[in-house]
Symmetry: C2
Subunit: 216 residues, 2 copies
């Protein structure tokens, strides 16, 4: 099925679309059925023109005066992010973060279905966490190919992250969601999205220090 929205959406737009989605989901729970883009901007303390432009990327059509139907806008954003269908994923590294990720309902929220966890720890292999089986990492390449899994989540330590990436690539994975604080080398046709905590922490601590007026 073709994915909705214009190609080449800028990164800030994609990030903001997730904020709109969080807001809209919250509004829907409260029984609100319609919203305009200036109202979204006001709620999220963003520029109204910016919000309007972001939403135009999704190619949804608003109604004059009333704005957007909340359900329609949620669907429209999800279609853009390819969250409307489910996508299978493997997770490598079932340490503290890996365990937390397996407990998180990515499937319900974003369509990401973590089908198996992989580790080298004999104590973990064969166990289940939140109904997801933990398998020996030796079986990853074979299984990824058989199940046609396209997304790999790396939650292992930095020291084994490249080895995990190599296995995922050998298994035919097309996209890696990398939480390990290590830059990965992968073939050109594999997409890596670095999701380390350090990125957002850098934004927070830098802004705090600039605000304290201690930055030059």
């Amino acid at each position: 099925m073709p994915v909705k929205g214009k190609k080449g959406m800028p990164e800030p737009t994609l990030r903001r679309l997730t904020h709109y989605l969080h807001l809209l989901t919250h509004l829907r729970k409260k029984g609100i059925t319609g919203i305009s883009s200036p109202k979204i901007a006001l709620e999220l303390n963003l520029d109204a023109t910016q919000v309007k432009k972001d939403i135009q990327y999704t190619e949804i059509i608003g109604r004059p005066k009333t704005g957007f139907d909340v359900d329609e806008l949620i669907d429209s954003i999800k279609l853009c992010l390819d969250w409307n269908t489910h996508q299978d994923a493997f997770l490598v590294g079932v340490g503290n973060l890996g365990k937390a990720m397996l407990s998180y309902d990515f499937y319900y929220r974003y369509g990401l279905n973590i089908v198996s966890g992989f580790d080298i720890d004999e104590q973990l292999i064969g166990t289940y966490m939140h109904n997801i089986e933990i398998l020996n990492v030796d079986t990853l390449v074979d299984l990824a190919g058989k199940l046609n899994v396209e997304i790999g989540v790396i939650t292992c330590p930095a020291s084994s992250a490249q080895a995990a990436a190599d296995l995922l690539v050998a298994g035919g994975i097309k996209g890696i969601w990398n939480f390990a604080p290590r830059n990965l080398k992968v073939p050109d046709d594999v997409i890596v999205e670095n999701a380390q905590f350090s990125q957002s922490l850098a934004l927070l601590t830098r802004r705090l220090s600039e605000k304290r007026g201690t930055a030059d």
Copy 2:
């Protein structure tokens, strides 16, 4: 102590600085002592001019031909991000993600010292996780003021995120690192950095779908 680097560093630069830091830390472990910006660009598959510009923001001075001293560049980036001194933080919501965060060595890596976790669960209150005590959320406002804590980490569910933010703000916290999928309302002088998994997942799944050629 004044923080290094020019004011108003762009968000993409700050994000990339963390990638450089991961690479440099890795190189240092391997015994490498010097690196040039074109080499960093090559290693990370980035544009060399971009890397050069990012590094100039840190105001480090390179040496002709040899480039940068790895240790100095690491220090220079850490100074920019305010990761060279330690900063105390409170964490609210000791569920799966909260537990994983408490186990993570933010202090060693980024100078962030999580001094206490807070929850409403009687079973958790009074216990220790990775040497960090879990306290009753009722004590947060008082303690934050007494300890002069400036950073709050929100890892509770979306439904209680705003209440957690309100407590942190009442306790005088200046910056919130928000992992809950909910947009927070805070006074203008409080900085919120949204670190939800959904942001990076959106980038990954959108890029994958564009690459599959299924986007319009």
